[in-house]
Amino acid sequence: MKAIEVKNLSKTFKTKVKETGLKGSLKAIIKPKYNTKKAVNNISFSIEKGEIIAFIGPNGAGKSTTIKMLTGILFPTKGEINIMGINPQHNRKKLAYKIGTVFGQKEQLWIHLTPYDNFKFFGAIYDVPEQIINKRIAEYKEIFELDEFINTPVRSLSLGQRMICEIVASLIHEPSILFLDEPTIGLDPVIKEKIRVFIKRLNKEKKTTIFLTSHDVGDIEKLCKRVIIVNNGKIVLDDSMENLKYHYLNKKIVEAKMNTKINLTDVEGISIIKDKDYNLKLEVDLTKKNISDAIKLLNPDNIIDINISNIPLETIISSIYKGTKS
């Protein structure tokens, strides 16, 4: 069953342009000029129920605009959206019961109230019966170890604690789809890991569909089985994480510490990325050469230490971004 279906979706924004200086400011008041920008340009995709997908792209690619259209906040200029049979723009209220949203850079909690009061509030507005709210609060309290701060006003919480509370607040009505817009932004590795483990558990146990946008490759790598990459408002890649790695991880990095300094030059399939004193870093194109060829080139007897690794996913993603830059 499809959880999300998007057909030929576009969104155009009109932004005011102003010339520099006082003259420009006055001109902008008297005769304003506008630029139109296609933030989202004719994209189509569908997501099955229970999938975890990463919807990623560089800044200004159209990720957040897409999420906001999917959640009924923005009206598309063109195209169709279907979220579990609901049109977000026509039935925003009905959709609200089915989805949860966490925008990493926006707050939804009442800062003078405690997380407990906030959870009760969100439960009440989603018409969740009192008993169930209490049960869910107890459940999340245990998962996220909320005991320590559940009765502290939100304004006094750390960023990580707040984000955990934001996630819990958006899950109190048990949505079928969870939209996460940069949920781990600015968080320390421990909290990030805690959130990732929880999202995985949520998806596994409750079959919640997760729609994630993040600049954090760790989030994408550890959570998602499918990646949609957008750039300049268009989808440039829609593939499984496995395929992405298979197609793009056909290169390995060989880092070696040498006993004596050797002079190497690039050969077909092996290029030198770094050559400093006794340390060498090579990139091996596995479609052309094997790792053993690289080791032979270095001379195994001359190697003190060696490390062979994949190209980081971050590098792959940024190369896809760069490759699609208009």
Binding site: F13, G62, T71, F103, K106, E107, F121
Partner: protein, 262 residues
């Protein structure tokens, strides 16, 4: 309806966290009222009544009208709605299972209720100290005036929310709020409608001033059932008209909402 009552309850809970800030406003209110009393005492030095108002009635009129203004001065309907639209936080609000406008007004009403009650008590104390109790006020007329005052507070909030909604189009809705509050101050608080030339007075009767300021204050001073009915009907009509306008403006605003990417 249940969830809006819960929103009010939560707001009430939220507002009492910073209730101490109200005490500073009490000082401002007391100073303003003392200055106005001195001014009116000076104006009244050569006559006992002006356009049908004795000094005592005039001072109570000021106190009652100011109570509505000070009492309804909640940032929820002004700053909060404006900032919510400007910052993009409205994204969080409009995809919740409530109507954002009813949510905002519920929040405003709960927040303002605490202020209104507090200022009503202060006003009563000031009135009793400076000029003594209102003449001919009975328990029935006092109780009957309560819904009129509450509706006045509600209408004030609705007008402020409506003004804040202009933030969908303009950079800052604050100047419009200023114009509105000055308009109310001059035509609704400082001078009762009877003080203006007949033509202006007649026009003012068809403005929100009649519902939010003049009507409730005047009713408390000279209660009669037909005047009560007149005001409550006017208030209900005002609420209907403002609701329709808010709905149109809000729908249009949301359609052109431009939340910057994150």
């Amino acid at each position: 309806m249940k969830k809006y009552l819960y929103i009010m309850k939560t707001t009430f809970n939220d507002s009492i966290q910073y209730i101490s800030s109200l005490f500073i406003r009490f000082i401002g209110f007391a100073i303003t009222m003392s200055i106005l009393l001195s001014l009116w005492t000076f104006i009244y030095q050569d006559s006992t009544t002006i356009n049908g108002y004795t000094l005592k009635e005039m001072f109570w009129y000021l106190l009652l009208a100011e109570t509505i203004t000070f009492g309804s001065n909640s940032p929820v309907a002004t700053k909060e709605v404006k900032n919510c639209i400007k910052s993009g936080n409205i994204a969080y609000q409009i995809n919740k299972p409530y109507h954002y406008i009813i949510y905002s007004i519920s929040k405003y009403f709960a927040d303002t209720l605490i202020r209104f009650i507090a200022f009503a008590i202060i006003s009563t104390i000031l009135g009793l100290i400076y000029v003594g109790p209102i003449d001919n006020v009975s328990l029935i007329s006092f109780v009957s005036c309560i819904p009129i005052f509450l509706l006045a507070v509600l209408i004030t909030g609705m007008i402020k929310v409506l003004i804040s909604l202009t933030s969908f189009w303009v950079e800052d809705s604050h100047p419009f709020q200023m114009i509105y509050s000055k308009f109310i101050l001059i035509f609704g608080i400082f001078f009762p409608i009877e003080m203006f030339p007949k033509t202006i007075g007649n026009i003012l009767r068809y403005t929100p001033i009649y519902s939010v300021s003049y009507g409730p204050a005047k009713l408390m001073l000279s209660f009669n059932s037909s005047f009560f009915l007149n005001i409550i009907i006017t208030q209900i009509i005002t609420i209907i008209i403002i609701s329709i306008i808010i709905n149109i403006v809000y729908r249009r605003g949301v359609r052109k909402l431009n939340v910057n990417g994150g």
